[in-house]
């Protein structure tokens, strides 16, 4: 049966590989391979370090499914719920399919680091390593499947969506704030003095360290420990399979009960059309798993981002937690209309409701985000700020709240990204569609809306006039209110003007650009890029952030504030005439990468269309 299931999965993979997915697989595989080779290198350095790295692999396998909301689901247990197959046998078969793919291969390379490590433990150690390597791969895959089993039961719930948001936000924060971790590592002098003993003990007792224990014991000739470690791994695999098979049964024979929280905003609905839309939106924010996920992602991101520097005793970021939450929430909410799918038809058959639809959505977003942001800002400024920080944080918070409320309306109408219909969505946060570019654009635009308020606050500090500093708050409230009103107005007029185009765009995921001179057929799918170009575009979008933020804008900020830390910021390691130009050059490089990341698919799209239409004309002429 395992054979049939594997053949089935291979066939599914063959049918689904193409364009962006193949590119993603290649990129992911290469990145994984680099990490695996890094693991082998580590094996030559130190046992404690290797145990720690293996622990990272184990947690990667277990957290990966949380991140992707259920992992690889090309062959799902539901497909076999009608077949007369014993659940334990099915679990074993599905485990077999889990070994098909790039990640298990990469992990096999990584865990073969054990054989390198065994080099210093003689032939006995090496032999044990050869047995332990496949067992370790089987262990991480089985534990990962178990995690998916747990998620399969939990992911369709609100708790699951919030949990996935926490993991997602943590990963993003770790990537963005990695300089803090590097600094911490330097401060604690890990490279020369090794890990603290307690940490080493923990990573060695984790199941991921049992293979190392077996190899070391073999080197000592302590065969009792070898047997205990290897049998322990086998027992854990068996236990994981047993529990997983029970979860499979539960997953295919029970129905998730959708818990409906009591609606908020009942009074709102009584206050005219705008209130009714706001009440509907508030309910959707708490009931739609995708929106719950996106909102909580912003909250966790802002909080963790400012908390991580506490590791190195830096409290200076805390006052900005609220502002970060607002900026990120605006960025993840910028596909407001896309997330609701084709329910836009309700507005099309009720002309004249566009204004209420847009205003109500803005109001609901503010009601959801503002209270959290205000609490974070006030608490953060009390803990981590000083007297002069108050006008800064309050004015910028007001500015981005208003700017965000305006921009989410405008961008969600002007740059709608088609997403899986709400009725067909699972809890998978990756189903949020190709909103990456939109998120980035929003991060930049929302930051720009804070400039007037920030400028006045800076002026107040520079002139040392508290009155001017506090004037910044008024400016922030003013620009915020103005932008909310103005962008909202553009948005609802645009919605009224091109509602049908937006609906057909959501239906088909095609591109429609009315009035821009190059009208394309409504609902036509975007032309697929060849794999090479797709890989290039993916590369540009993934790596443009490094020159733009950590190597560009952050060093500029640090030069501006006169900090003396250098870390991994290249520009800060240079002498003075060069510091600012180099940082600026990095910013330009990031911007150029974003530009080409956008332009290459567009050009390809246009070129393909022109070629097609000229071929059609040619055919007509021949005909």
């Amino acid at each position: 049966m395992v054979g049939v299931l594997i053949a089935m999965k291979l066939r599914v993979l063959r049918h689904s590989i193409g364009g962006s997915r193949a590119a993603g697989m290649v990129m992911g595989g290469l990145a994984g391979l680099a990490l695996a080779i890094g693991t082998i290198v580590v094996a030559g350095i130190d046992g404690d370090l290797l145990a720690a790295v293996f622990a990272v692999w184990l947690f990667g396998w277990m957290l990966g499914p949380v991140y992707t909301g259920g992992g690889d689901e090309s062959v799902r247990p539901e497909h076999f719920s009608l077949l007369p197959i014993d659940p334990r046998k099915l679990a074993l078969g599905l485990l077999g399919t889990a070994f098909v793919g790039v990640p298990p291969l990469v992990s096999l390379v990584a865990f073969s680091a054990l054989a390198v490590y065994a080099g210093s433990f003689g032939l006995a150690g090496f032999t044990v390593a050869l047995v332990a390597i496949p067992l370790m791969v089987a262990l991480v895959v089985a534990l990962s499947r178990l995690m998916i089993g747990v998620l399969g039961v939990a992911v369709r719930s609100r708790t699951g969506a919030i949990l996935a948001a926490l993991v997602n936000a943590s990963m993003n924060v770790v990537l963005n704030q990695s300089w803090v971790l590097i600094w911490a590592a330097i401060q604690f002098d890990l490279l020369t003095s090794g890990f603290p003993p307690a940490f080493s003990t923990v990573v060695r007792w984790l199941p991921s360290g049992w293979g190392i224990a077996a190899v070391e014991a073999a080197g000592r000739g302590d065969w009792l420990v070898v047997a205990a470690a290897l049998l322990g791994i086998c027992a854990l695999i068996a236990l994981a399979l047993l529990v997983w098979s029970q979860l499979l049964v539960r997953r295919t024979t029970t129905k998730p009960l959708h818990w409906v929280p009591q609606g908020t905003g009942g009074d709102l609905a009584a206050r005219g059309p705008v209130g009714a839309v706001a009440a509907k939106e508030l309910r959707t924010w708490s009931r739609d798993l995708m929106r719950t996920h996106l909102l909580w992602f912003a909250v966790f991101f802002g909080l963790l981002y400012t908390l991580v520097p506490l590791i190195i005793d830096w409290y200076g970021m805390l006052p900005w937690a609220g502002v970060l939450v607002v900026v990120m929430a605006a960025a993840t909410s910028a596909n407001l209309f896309g997330l609701d799918g084709t329910s836009l038809w309700l507005n099309l058959v009720n002309p004249g409701t566009e204004r209420a639809e847009v205003r109500g959505r803005q109001l609901a977003w503010l009601l959801r985000v503002a209270p959290i942001a205000i609490v974070f800002t006030v608490a953060g400024t009390i803990v981590g700020g000083e007297g002069w920080t108050w006008p800064w944080t309050l004015s910028i918070l007001a500015a981005v709240l208003g700017g965000g409320a305006g921009l989410i309306a405008l961008v969600s109408v002007a740059m709608l990204v088609p997403v899986t219909e709400p009725t067909r969505r699972s809890g998978n946060p990756l189903e949020a569609g190709a909103i990456f570019g939109q998120v980035v654009l929003m991060l930049l635009l929302v930051t720009v809306t804070a400039l007037p308020a920030g400028g006045v606050a800076y002026l107040g500090d520079a002139l040392d006039l508290p009155v001017v500093s506090w004037l910044a708050v008024a400016v922030g409230v003013g620009t915020g209110a103005g932008l909310t009103w103005w962008f909202g107005r553009i948005a609802h007029r645009m919605l009224a003007a091109r509602g049908p185009e937006l609906l057909s765009l959501m239906r088909s995921g095609g591109t429609v650009s009315p009035g821009s001179g190059e009208v394309t057929a409504a609902g036509r799918a975007r032309v697929k890029l060849p794999a090479g170009k797709q890989a290039l575009v993916t590369f540009l979008w993934i790596f443009c952030w490094i020159p733009l933020f950590p190597q560009g804008l952050v060093p500029l900020w640090m030069i501006w504030t006169g900090g003396d830390a250098r870390l991994w910021f290249l520009a800060l390691h240079l002498q003075d005439p060069w510091r600012i130009p180099v940082a600026l050059a990095f910013v330009v490089m990031g911007a150029v990468m974003i530009y080409y990341g956008t332009v290459i698919p567009n050009r390809h799209d246009r070129a393909t269309r022109e070629r097609q239409s000229s071929e059609e004309r040619h055919l007509e002429n021949v005909g």
Binding site: M8, R11, H15, R76, E78, L82, P84
Partner: protein
């Protein structure tokens, strides 16, 4: 002889709502059994519990005397099911899907391929040889689901709304298939909203309303000399004379 399908006091509650309230039905072998009822009456929930897709709170379900929940493997081997809103491996073609499922059902390679080919041909899905299931229309999904239910040659078919969204010609094909299956000694249980269809096809019928069995038995007994539609309306307690449009509409 054991009933082809027996529902014995099945009950299910979702939160505060009682979806199915002690439903008991007996489907005689060789019968064509229709299950009718208003929207939300509990038809799909009852059928799901009867075939092992949803664990009941109370009661038992038996397929040819084999308890679905005590011996799920034995029961599943004896029944073919077309569930409502079924999950399928979307990125396979129809032929691949049927072949793999046949292999998983324990058929050998040649038999699985031959049966898949025959079913695709009868259901006229063989023209869509290069189409993945994800790109199938609603009607085609129904047909491929029906094919998976018949693949292993069961003696009982349990079909949830098999004619929904199927075009008239395909519907005739499916009807002919089901009729010859019953003529050959098989049993069919199907749920439907179309009274005329149930009247034409079925020899037994059960009316389910508000999670309970309102009437069940041979068609003529349940009809009691009237049309099934009239009898149905009477059983579920709808007053036809009282039905009217909204007061503000067309006034």
């Amino acid at each position: 002889m054991a009933a082809a399908l027996e529902l014995d006091g099945l009950g299910k509650r979702f939160g505060p709502k009682i979806a199915v309230d002690h439903v008991s039905l007996s489907v005689p072998p060789g019968s064509f059994y229709g299950l009718v009822g208003p929207n939300g009456a509990g038809k799909t929930t009852s059928l799901s519990m009867a075939v092992g897709l949803l664990r009941p709170d109370t009661g038992h379900a038996r397929v040819f005397g084999v308890d679905v929940w005590d011996d799920p493997i034995g029961a599943r081997a004896r029944v073919g099911v077309l569930p409502d809103g079924l999950a399928l491996p979307e990125r396979l073609t129809g032929r691949e899907l049927l072949t793999y499922l046949g292999r998983l059902r324990g058929l050998d390679r040649a038999t699985a391929a031959a049966r898949a080919g025959e079913l695709l041909e009868i259901l006229e899905l063989d023209q869509a040889e290069r189409t993945l299931v994800i790109d199938y229309s609603t009607g085609m999904r129904k047909k491929i689901g029906l094919a998976t239910a018949m693949l292993h040659g069961p003696r009982l078919l349990v079909l949830d709304e098999p004619f929904e969204a199927v075009d008239p010609v395909s519907a005739l094909t499916i009807r002919a298939m089901l009729k010859s299956f019953v003529a050959g000694g098989g049993s069919v249980v199907l749920s439907s909203h179309v009274m005329a269809l149930v009247e034409q096809l079925c020899d037994h019928v059960a009316v389910i309303d508000k999670g309970r069995v309102a009437a069940a038995g041979p068609l003529d007994e349940v009809r009691d000399g009237r049309s099934l539609e009239d009898r149905f309306v009477e059983l579920v307690g709808a007053d036809v004379d009282d039905m009217k449009g909204p007061s503000w509409l067309a006034s």
